[in-house]
């Protein structure tokens, strides 16, 4: 069964409440123990592997040494035959036979070691995979447990008051409303800023005698002055009241 299937089974097993343990704590401990033991076995297998590899190398070295010895004695035997020393040649042949049977033993040992190495490597690979799988399973289980515990803490902290996990739609409405309010406030602030900003500027311009307002004021003044000038073309002083005129008075 996959890790995820096991978790789903655990989650759906019964009508579980938040805060209840998702994973059987006892099972978790057994799992941890299994991982621990697998790791120990793995370390031991790796140690064994290095030992067997060393033994294989030693056996192969011995085979090579024996090969050289056999060649050397074969040469000696041939030399003895060349010199018609048959008895000596027989003795050397005996030695060669001895070396060859020793070589056969070493070759057999080397091949056994090689087989052992293959087995150990397979074992190590399998143990490694099993540990990885167990660790992953444990991590998923513990994470699930941790998430449920955290949710329990969060639920308890939200237990009372306004921070309680409320109705989702109401939450949404509140967030939306707040966003609208904020957007409105920002817009209003912008408008106010623009208005105040432009008014302040207009005032400054007017004070400097620039702009529409200043011009308008000047224009009105100029018009009035012109009007006045036109109405009293010959008046020598302004102290005297303007001559009464019936036509003008009706205006």
């Amino acid at each position: 069964m996959s890790v995820f299937s096991k978790i789903l089974t655990a989650l759906r097993g019964s009508a579980r409440e938040i805060g209840e343990s998702v994973v059987d704590n006892n099972a978790t401990r057994i799992y941890e123990q299994e991982i621990y033991e697998s790791k120990a076995a793995l370390a031991k297998a790796k140690q064994d592997l290095t030992l067997v590899m060393a033994q294989e190398k030693a056996a192969l070295r011995e085979v090579e040494r024996l090969n050289k010895e056999v060649s050397r004695f074969e040469e000696h035997a041939l030399a003895a035959l060349d010199k018609d020393q048959e008895l000596l040649a027989i003795e050397v042949a005996g030695k060669i036979a001895e070396l060859e049977s020793e070589r056969a033993l070493q070759e057999k040992a080397a091949s056994e070691f090689a087989q052992h190495i293959t087995n150990l490597k397979e074992l190590i690979q399998q143990a490694g995979a099993r540990i990885r799988e167990h660790e992953r399973e444990l991590a998923v289980a513990k994470t699930t447990e941790s998430v449920y515990r955290a949710t329990e803490s969060i639920s308890q902290s939200m237990g009372s008051g306004a921070s309680k996990l409320g109705n989702a739609r109401e939450s949404l409405e509140r967030i939306k409303q707040r966003h609208t309010e904020m957007a409105d406030r920002m817009k209003a602030a912008e408008e106010l800023d623009a208005e105040l900003g432009s008014k302040a500027l207009e005032k400054k311009l007017a004070a400097a005698g620039i702009g529409e307002q200043a011009n308008q004021q000047n224009n009105v003044l100029a018009r009035l002055q012109a009007q006045r000038k036109a109405s009293q073309p010959a008046a020598p002083t302004t102290a005297q009241p303007p001559a009464a005129d019936d036509g003008q008075a009706t205006i």
Partner: protein, 137 residues
């Protein structure tokens, strides 16, 4: 006692403030340490950061089973599955009867990564609520 994670979360909150506005950090005591980050203006969708075994989880609770319109439940679940892959940095999930959006990071995730994840989570949560409103009562 302030842990290394406390410091990291504080730095993350400061990073979030630059984009989202004021962020309040609260440490919730319990079996497992949980940090609550509340963004001003999004008080209904606080985010929680907790260390769970080999990862840091950033969780935002969206709605509960009770919020779902019964007749549209399957459609909601399908919509969540359809959206799940496309949502940047966050995924839908469920804890007990609570539906969540969550992001997961390695335990040693840096301040920048956490900030990025939480920033996405906050935006995603608001979006999810808006998008799924039709399925809720």
């Amino acid at each position: 006692m302030e842990t290394e994670l406390d410091q990291r979360i504080k730095a993350v909150a400061a990073g979030l403030e630059a984009t989202l506005g004021a962020v309040e950090v609260e440490r919730i005591t319990g079996d497992v340490p949980v940090f609550k980050l509340t963004v001003t203006g999004r008080e209904e969708l606080p985010m929680f950061v907790t260390q769970a075994q080999s990862q840091l989880l950033c969780i935002c609770y969206l709605w509960t089973e009770a919020d779902i319109a019964a007749a549209r439940r399957t459609a909601l679940l399908e919509a969540m599955l359809d959206l799940n892959v496309a949502i940047p940095l966050s995924s839908f999930g469920r804890i007990g009867d609570k539906y969540v959006l969550h992001g997961a990071l390695a335990c040693d995730a840096g301040v920048d990564d956490l900030t990025q994840d939480l920033l996405a989570l906050s935006d995603n949560a608001v979006d999810a609520l808006v998008a799924m409103a039709d399925y809720l009562v």
